[in-house]
């Protein structure tokens, strides 16, 4: 209802009493949006959207109310980070499997199917309740069932998932971890759909109304071979001495689209891929750019409209031309189009494999026991150190003494040469999962097999899911390693280059294996009362018979007949 303004005599300026520097809310915020398009070797197309929001976090000392006034940074994320005392947060929603052998390494790190959440949280008494509250809050924010990540699915990696923010260290540095602890949880069975995308888009300053985010068409996006949506929050240093920090929110969508599936040709355009064009750049963004990684041979393709800048062989790591379109300078809508000068696309017979990748599979048969084997491939000519992480749920009981690490075909290499370090946390039934972490040194040009046996647990009748015969999902194994820039992680090197950030000489690569489906033995779900009746019958039979035997004596049935005979005899003798 209408409200009258109060006379201003009620409010007087008291600027002297409350001296405060004039600071606009979005003064120190910055927002950048990027789209990277890279054709892949097998004719598919990688489209990677990245939206970065930076907010000034003040000095290294924490101030109360630091995150109270938001400009470009979304308030819901800031409140969650503040309230749960989170230092770093990574949440990824993935559907499909990233084919490392065909596509190289993804730009976004996390590629485990399902929903993966890991966070570095400040260590105090309430860290467990903070983690629980964090999963529930994120579950409500993104309409996903993250609240199922409870104690039975949470693990604390020791070697992998190091902090990536300002307090980071690519090497395992104890000092850097002071005051914070990591928590990791994954739901391999979770489906990703529009309900998760919509709240994610609402976190962007321009939402889906302007800028690159207008291309995010759910109909087209969820029709792809692989799609992954993530938010990453981490502190970054603003200068070399890290005297001031910013909080960085990176929202990414990675999808692998297949134009060959529709037309047989590799040609693509924004309208064919996404059904839309980019109307304009986001007005509040500092930079809004579309980057296309071009094939090395210029005659193979045509790219329209012509690009704004081209970066050609400037960095030693990249040997292909990169076309950059700066959207802030464009006034018309942008509809990129690339046509290839070829007939039908023919799949390459041999693709060069990435340097390190892995496959995981189950061995054995039957519902009683089985084994898990992970084959780790090292295609380089030198040995490589990797960290291996696997969190197996409690309903598969691993036997650590059956762990075998061997190199296929080279039996002479001893297990102790490969395994540098081993961390193992056994599972407790219904309480926590198993965590197996190893530091391995992979020999050059080899396939290392890590295998372990397990027993399947017989669950209670109520612990089975409604679709009990489908089985339970087991999360992927994660292999972390440092690799210099190369042909297989070209896309991420290019993105780093274009966003003008420091291109480190070595990048942290995470390789995710497949998820597994373990079918556990099921009881007959229609039988509870029958079982109770049958078992109790046997026990009652036992009890009743023994009890009666113990308290009753014997008496001969013929005694009475004999007595009667004797009586009759007496009578007869008496009478006679």
């Amino acid at each position: 209802m209408p409200w009258k303004k109060l006379p201003s005599c009620i409010l007087l300026l008291l600027a002297l009493a409350y001296p405060v520097q004039s600071k606009l809310s979005s003064q120190k915020d910055s927002f950048q949006e990027d789209l990277l398009i890279s054709p892949l070797k097998d004719g598919k197309l990688l489209a990677h959207f990245q939206f970065t929001t930076l907010v000034d976090a003040g000095g290294l000392d924490e101030k109360d109310g630091r995150y109270a006034h938001y400009g470009l940074f979304p308030k819901s994320i800031g409140q969650i980070i503040d309230h749960h005392r989170v230092q770093e947060l990574h949440l990824t929603f993935t559907q499909g499997r990233w084919q490392y052998e065909d596509w190289g390494y993804p730009v976004a790190q996390s590629a485990g199917t399902g929903v993966e959440l890991w966070a570095w949280m400040k260590l105090d008494d309430s860290i467990e309740s903070n983690w629980r509250s964090l999963t529930n809050t994120l579950s409500g924010l993104f309409c996903a069932s993250l609240n199922f990540i409870d104690g039975t699915l949470t693990s604390q990696p020791e070697l992998s998932f190091r902090p990536e923010g300002a307090k980071n260290s690519y090497n395992h540095d104890e000092r850097m971890r002071e005051g914070a602890e990591v928590r990791y949880g994954i739901l391999p069975h979770e489906n990703v759909c529009t309900e998760n995308l919509t709240p994610w888009i609402k976190l962007l300053p321009c939402k889906s109304k302007a800028g690159i985010a207008t291309l995010l068409n759910a109909h087209k996006l969820y029709d792809t071979n692989y799609h992954s949506m993530a938010i990453h929050i981490r502190p970054v240093c603003q200068d070399a001495n890290c005297t001031s920090q910013s909080l960085e929110l990176v929202q990414t969508v990675t999808s692998v689209l297949d134009p060959v599936r529709e037309s047989g040709r590799r040609d693509w355009s924004f309208s064919s891929l996404f059904g839309r064009e980019i109307q304009s750049a986001c007005p509040v963004s500092d930079r809004s750019a579309v980057t296309v990684l071009l094939p090395s041979e210029q005659h193979e393709y045509q790219l329209t409209p012509s690009y704004d800048t081209i970066i050609e062989r400037t960095a030693a790591q990249v040997e292909r031309p990169i076309a950059v379109y700066n959207l802030s300078q464009h006034t018309e809508p942008l509809n990129l189009q690339m046509t290839w000068n070829e007939g039908e696309f023919s799949y390459p017979l041999q693709t060069s494999k990435p340097r390190v990748y892995a496959h995981k599979y189950m061995t054995g048969y039957g519902h009683e026991r089985g084994g898990v084997t992970v084959n780790i491939f090292n295609n380089m000519n030198e040995s490589q150190d990797i960290s291996y992480f696997d969190s197996v749920p409690w309903f598969l009981k691993l036997y650590l003494h059956t762990l075998e690490v061997s190199v296929l075909g080279k039996d002479h290499i001893d297990q102790n040469d490969i395994v540098q370090d081993l961390y193992y946390q056994p599972a407790v039934d219904r309480s926590r999962p198993q965590v197996l972490e190893m530091k391995l040194r992979l020999p050059p040009d080899s396939v290392t097999a890590v295998s372990i046996e397990f027993d399947k647990v017989f669950l209670k009748y109520t612990e089975h899911r409604p679709d009990a015969n489908r089985g339970f999902d087991v999360g992927p194994a994660v292999i972390t390693t440092l690799l210099p820039a190369g042909d297989d992680n070209l896309a991420s090197t290019v993105l780093e280059l274009v966003t003008n950030r420091d291109t480190p000489t070595r990048q942290n690569i995470k390789v995710y294996t497949e998820i597994l489906l373990a079918s556990l033995p099921t009881p007959d779900f229609s039988m509870p009362y029958n079982v109770i009746t049958l078992t109790c019958t046997v026990i009652a039979l036992f009890f009743g018979s023994i009890f009666n035997l113990l308290i009753r004596g014997f008496s001969v049935t013929e005694d009475e007949v004999d007595e009667k005979k004797h009586e009759n005899k007496d009578e007869i003798s008496n009478s006679s």
């Binding site: 109060l6 979005s26 809050t137 609402k202 300053p205 939402k207 109770i532 026990i539 009890f547």
Partner: protein, 521 residues
């Protein structure tokens, strides 16, 4: 077979069975802590403690210490005047209905206020223009009772309706519908909504504005509730309603919204107004900058005239102010602290309504007196002592009544569902809540409103904590027939021989005793 062996065997088996009985009880019984039902009932019927809201008014009568003797008043009998004023006020405010669930004791204190003659000039409103006229006692009484009546009338009505209407009747007055439900903490969010940033980008120095204009008010009101303040800027905030275009010939045309469309103004789906950490109720204040193709945007009242303030309040939710960007503006529109001052004034006024402060001017407008009465303003904190007092009393009444209602619902729920688990900590919370109610009532009688408010806040917090405890949902509901199906297969075949054995032994024992008697005779 010797009977003693048989009896020993039966006894040993029964010993184990009897050992099992308390274990059965322990493992299958529903744990229910005993709640103080009688105490809750007595509070619900308002028998436990009589709520009273005493007020004390101190009237300072000026008398010139060093002045002409005849200008001075004759010695006044303060006690008589006090009584007269009190009885006048009570007569005027006597309530019509017989049942008095709340008491309003009134104390009037008259004190002498000696002043020096050079301060006479400041007291122009007491000394009449004609210096020869003498102030009559009746005037003092009339003025005082008029003022006190005016102040107390609205306050007493509101408190009485809160405390006495046990059926929670719908409060038909606008004031009640507007006020937010009480919470010890509120979250206040200021949102700057930009309709279309393509043409105009916006930014504001909200932190400074809040610290300068809002903090004094908040710290004054922190007596009753605390506020946490945060803010955000939202771009591309589309309207859910379409404004209509008012074409005017001589004056500039504009777009307008009618009062019927205002309830739909908030586009909750697209504007990120929900709080991620919402433990407390949220009060939202929105500063809306319309898109370039919808400027200027005005709000019409129900007579079709545009409002000057261009702002409106949504009851129990928050307030909205619309700022039309200047025509020449393009690029960036930045609100400095001074630019935000008019909007903060609007927001503070809306906030006052939302937390239950009743405007003193309105209250005093019902005053009828032949004398001119002026009220001292509060330049800094935007809320006067009388207004705060009224709010405190209202909140105390609201808290007490609501916590009694919550406890009564809890007791009814527990009694209606015999299978519900009631843990010990729920009983503790209920006990603490009742204790706080008691202490609140006693503090009220002693006119210690601060303490009474504290205790009433504790009472409502604890009663809600008990009622909304997560364990209150778990019910061990198991249909009886299924229980029979579970117990019977084992226990019926096992108990039959046990019981038969005992019966047989008793029969034999009786027979033996009879035979012994016969033998003895």
């Amino acid at each position: 077979m010797p009977d003693s062996t048989k009896r020993l065997v039966i006894a040993s088996v029964w010993a184990v069975v009897l050992l099992g009985l308390p274990l059965w009880w322990k493992t299958t019984a529903v744990y229910r802590a005993q709640l103080p039902f009688s105490q809750i009932d007595s509070w619900a019927e308002r028998k436990a403690c009589q709520l009273s809201f005493p007020s004390t008014f101190v009237i300072h009568l000026a008398s010139i210490a060093d002045g002409e003797p005849q200008a001075h008043n004759r010695p006044l009998d303060f006690a008589v005047i006090q009584e007269t004023i009190t009885s006048h006020v009570n007569n005027r405010l006597a309530s019509t209905n017989a049942r008095e669930c709340v008491e309003f004791p009134l104390h009037v204190n008259i004190q002498n206020w000696p002043i020096t003659s050079d301060m006479k000039n400041l007291l122009h409103h007491i000394e009449p223009s004609n210096s020869k006229q003498v102030i009559a006692i009746a005037d003092i009484e009339e003025v005082s009772s008029a003022v006190i009546t005016a102040i107390l009338k609205g306050e007493r009505e509101r408190v009485r309706s809160l405390a006495c209407d046990s059926e929670l009747t719908e409060r038909s007055n606008l004031d009640g519908a507007r006020t937010m439900k009480f919470s010890p903490t509120y979250q206040m969010t200021f949102s700057l909504m930009n309709g279309n940033p393509d043409s105009l980008q916006v930014d504001w120095d909200i932190e400074a504005a809040v610290n300068t204009y809002l903090k004094p008010f908040i710290s004054e009101v922190s007596l009753v509730s605390n506020f946490t303040v945060d803010s955000q800027i939202q771009h591309y905030a589309d309207l859910a309603v379409t404004p209509q275009f008012m074409e005017r010939q001589k004056l500039p045309s504009y777009y307008y919204l009618t009062p019927q469309t205002l309830p739909h103004f908030i586009n909750s789906a697209e504007w990120n107004l929900a709080s991620a950490i919402s433990s407390y109720p949220t009060i939202n204040f929105i500063l809306y900058i319309p898109a370039a193709d919808k400027t200027p945007l005005r709000i019409h009242d129900d007579k079709g005239q545009p409002l000057r303030s261009n702002a409106f309040l949504i009851p129990r939710w928050g307030g909205i102010a619309i700022k039309n960007p200047p025509k020449a503006a393009s690029g960036k529109l930045e609100f400095s602290k001074e630019d935000l001052k008019p909007f903060m004034e609007i927001f503070v006024a809306q906030l006052r309504g939302l937390i239950g402060i009743h405007d003193l001017k309105k209250t005093m407008s019902s005053l009828e007196s032949s004398y001119e009465i002026s009220l001292a303003p509060t330049p800094q904190t935007a809320v006067t002592v009388i207004e705060m007092d009224a709010v405190v009393k209202q909140r105390i009444a609201e808290n007490v009544v609501n916590s009694i209602a919550t406890l009564k619902s809890l007791a009814q729920l527990v009694m209606d569902i015999p299978n519900m688990v009631v843990l010990d900590h729920i009983r503790t919370e209920v006990q603490l809540s009742l204790d706080s109610l008691n202490q609140a009532c006693q503090a009220l009688q002693q006119e210690d409103y601060l303490k009474a408010l504290q205790h009433s806040i504790h009472a409502i917090e604890r009663s809600e904590k008990a009622f909304f405890d997560p364990t209150m949902v778990s019910m061990l509901y198991f249909p009886d027939e299924h229980k029979y199906a579970i117990y019977m297969p084992l226990f019926v075949p096992v108990s039959v021989p046990l019981i038969m054995a005992v019966i047989k032994q008793l029969k034999e024992y009786k027979k033996e005793k009879r035979e012994q008697k016969v033998k003895a005779e």
